[in-house]
Structure formats: C-alpha cells, structure tokens
C-alpha cells in the first residue's frame, strides 16, 4: 500500500476543535464534515486539497476532544495519510479504528514543507520527499494494529476474528 500526494503542513497541537469545529458536529455524514475540515486554522484547505494529498504536522496532532468526526473529516476530504512527530492518543486510536493511515516520524515532520510532493510506502514505513529528494523511516505499528489497519478498521477486524 502506498500514498502519493502534495503536503499540507501544520504546527504543534493541532486540536480536534480546529480539525472540525463543534458547530458542525450536528452532522456525522463524512462528506458533510469534509466540507468544513480545518476551517478555523486553514480556511482554504477544503478548496486546495486533492484526493491523495498528505497532511504533515509537528507534535500532539489531534489533541482535545474524542470526536471521531475529526479523522473522518480528514479522510473524507481526500487526505491519504497524516504524518506527525506525535499524535494525541485518542486521535491515534480513532485513526486506526476508522482506517485513516497515520505515521509518527519526527524528522519528516520537521523537514517536510507545505507543497512538497511526498510518497509513502506503508509496508516499509518509508517516507520519500520527492521535491527535496530526502527520505525518512517512520515508526512501524505493532503487528496487532497493522492487522486492524489491514482489515480497514476495528469493526471488520472484530468481525473476522
């Protein structure tokens, strides 16, 4: 499995309130949520994002609320993977459980810039910045979590167990 796209870059502590503000939580429809994704810190994100694009941020991405609407909105907006130095733990669980690929990698999070073209190989955990010609090794998931991701989420994983 691979991802390939253009990078949208953010800083530290991107919280779930800016990923999808509470005023839109009266819907749980992925397409509806995607329309307002990142609105409060990046109003043009929705216009700019293309299917397959990649989100890169620094530490503690997805902190705050447990709203699964946040990874759902990111996934439905077309983002194929989120790379961050660290993820807040509930976001981390939610992303795995709904099948949104995420990778922790400090160096990649620090060096990759907005607009870079990036390719990710999920099997090896390698991240290639095609614009800069650099490469990074992301942290691999434990086998148990890889199985959930392979099953495309927790529900399928439990159904197949």
């Amino acid at each position: 499995m691979k991802a390939h796209g253009v990078v949208h870059k953010y800083g530290d502590n991107v919280d779930t309130d800016v990923i999808i503000p509470a005023r839109y939580l009266n819907s749980s429809d992925p397409a509806e949520l995607a329309k307002n994704c990142m609105e409060d810190i990046d109003p043009d994100f929705v216009k700019r994002v293309k299917v397959g694009d990649i989100m890169v941020a620094n530490k503690n991405f997805g902190c705050g609320s447990s709203r699964e609407h946040a990874p759902i909105a990111i996934k439905a907006s077309g983002i194929s993977c989120v790379i961050a130095e660290t993820f807040a733990r509930i976001f981390y669980r939610n992303a795995i459980n709904i099948g949104l690929p995420i990778i922790e990698c400090k160096e990649a999070a620090e060096e990759i810039e907005a607009g870079d073209e990036v390719e990710i190989d999920f099997d090896s955990g390698m991240i290639y910045d095609r614009t800069k010609g650099t490469e990074y090794k992301g942290q691999a998931f434990p086998p148990f979590m890889q199985e959930i991701i392979k099953a495309e989420g927790l529900v399928n994983y439990i159904n197949h167990k």
């Binding site: 919280d15 749980s28 503690n60 609320s65 699964e68 939610n94 459980n97 529900v155 439990i158």
Partner: protein, 422 residues
Amino acid sequence: MGMTMTQKILAAHAGLDVVEAGQLIEANLDMVLGNDVTTPVAIHEMEKFNTQEVLYKDKIAMVLEHITPNKDSNSAEHFKSVREYANSHNITNFFDVGEVGIEHALLPEKGLVVAGDAVIGADSHTCTYGALGAFSTGVGSTDMAAGMATGKAWFKVPSAIQFVLTGKPAKWVSGKDIILHIIGMIGVDGALYKSMEFVGDGIQYLSMDDRFSMANMAIEAGGKNGIFPVDDITIEYLKEHSVREYKVYEADEDAVYDETYTIDLSQLKPTVAFPHLPENTRTIDNVGDIKIDQVVIGSCTNGHITDLRIAAEIMKGRKVAKGIRVIIIPATQAIYLQAMEEGLLKTFIEAGAIVSTPTCGPCLGGHMGILAAGERAVATTNRNFVGRMGHVESEVYLASPAVAAASAITGKISCPCEVMGE
C-alpha cells in the same frame, strides 16, 4: 518490578497477574459511555457488526447532554436516533431531558462507576472517574461500538508520571488551580500516552469535587488517565452514591514511574490558562488587566455543587458588572435541585447571572453562550482552543469557579481576594 495503580486495575481486567508498560492487552469493561455527539456515530458502526446483539445492557450508558435540549433540526435527528436505539435495545442507563446531567458528573452521582472499575467513554473527559480510583479513559465512537458489542477494549498498558501532592491549599486554591498549575508545568502533551497518578498527604485536603476536576483534565496534558488513591473521602462518596461493590487497588511500593513531581499545594495561587492552550498558565497576580464579556461557570470540570457554593459565596449580595453575561450551569438535575434548596440559584439570579439546565453547551461552542469575534470569556471549562466557544477570533480564559465569580463582579479577570476584601 512493581505495578502502578493503573497497571494493577488493567491487569485484573485482562485476567493477568502482571502487566508492564507498552504491553498490548484486551480488558473487560465495567462501563461503556457515549453522548449525543459520539453515540450516533457508534450506532452507525454497530450496524456493521455481524451481530446486532448488545450483550451487556447494564454496562452501557447513553447520556444526551452535549447540546441538550435539541439545539437545532440536525441535532434533533441525532438525539432521535439515539433515543430509538436505546429504547429498542433496552439500554438500562439511558438519560434524556429531565434525568440528564453532564455525563462525567452524572455517572458517579448515579453510582454507575466505582473504585476499581475499567471504563471507556466516547468522550475525552471520561478520565474524570480516576477521582474514584477507577481506570477510565476517553476513546472514539468505533471503540464505543466495539465495547458495546464485545464488552472489551484493547489498550496499550501505560507508564505513569507520579505527582506527590503535599501541604494544604490556601483559601481560594481549588483542584482546578492545581491541575492548571500541573498542565502549565508539563505542557499539553506532557503526559502523552501516560497515566497521571496523584498521591501524597495533600490529597486529604481535596474534596471529591476537587479530585473530579483534576482527573477530568488529565487529557489536557495528553494523559491516558488520571487517578487518585482511594481514601476515606472516596469511600464516603461511594457509599452515599452506589450500591455496587468497589475494589481498592494500590500501586506497588516498587512501582516504576517515568517521572515524579512533588508539588507543595500551600504554595499555589489561583491560576488562569490564557488562550489558546490549557498550558498557557499564569498565576492570578500575573494576569494583568484583562477585560471580559462573558463568564461561564459549569461543565464536567466545574459544575459540581461545591463549585456553585464557592461562586455563590463570592456573588452573594453583589452585582455582576454592567455588560457582563454570566451563565451558570449546574452539571446535573440533583445539583440543580440542591443549589435551589440552598438558595444558591437565588443568589446568582439576584446578582444578575442566568442559570441554565444541565448541558455542556458553551464549553464546546455548542449553544447557550457562543462568543462573537473579539469577545472574551472566563470559563470554568477545560479547553481554550481557537474557536472553542464560538468565533475563531474569540478568547477563552480557563479558571476556577472562585476566579470566574470574582471576574463576573469586576468585569475583568480578578482574584477572589480582591472582591472579598481580603
């Protein structure tokens, strides 16, 4: 190697003698919780399971409290979907208008969570029940659905940071000030993936409501859970509220902690978190001149009876400053009634505040007090992120009920000592 208090609870629920940090386990759950925002997504996930049977009807709580009563037509549909599901599946602990309170105040009050439990909730502040000596943590809707379907959840066993609390806090220093101080010290990811275990002789001076506020905000330091040892104060609370059998776990003497911080509570001052992160803390003597537009006293963090008593003590016989909107939200119906019987609601209304029925409301910018561009609120809530209470250019300052009440009277962020002439 010994286990932390959290590790002991997790080991017992996984049927293991010993667990260690980093180990992946599957634990049996005593309670699975959801609210009106997260439960509709969980119900949608439930429909994808091979089995539609809900095995543990008594171990599920559905609490319609985030934007209750129905805020608008979309949320009305959400509420309706949960009502229909709860009724058709005979969910025992379903709470709607008339019975509902803010979930993390309601579950302990109803005795649905006790010491020694393992609890997940599709709400980040589920960590609140650590105040009772339970392991509890926030998860998402899919985890909630899996918990409902299987009665279990997977966990990575956390390591822990130990906070040794010593000394007696000064008059206007509450659990809220202590936890804001800690978050200011370690940062919003200072306890990422970890337990925050509170110990020390200072705990004897903290009421259950203080402890609920502190465990509640463990998530604001990135923590997996916050937990207190069980003492006489806990046992008295449990006996008053629950008929369920509780179990007391204690950390081993040789338990290993990633870090240990010792905090002398007698040295702490009322503390305020400035926009837009809970770690941006300043003590009350360093806040400067911050004029405000709104005050909110309520939420799962500070909507308890002792919070309302403190606010009323400061507001009694005084008037809210001209132009300041003061919104007071008792966390549950029982707290509302108690506040009425004690005359606290009269004090608030005479001072010029309004009193709402239980709801999370403005805390998450849902309803009941949304801020316009450029407006500022002092709130006893738990988050001050960009746009949290309304417009992206509005600001939230997190504080204790005492500081919030004092600020309501002066119209700027103020020390209670100033208003009380101390």
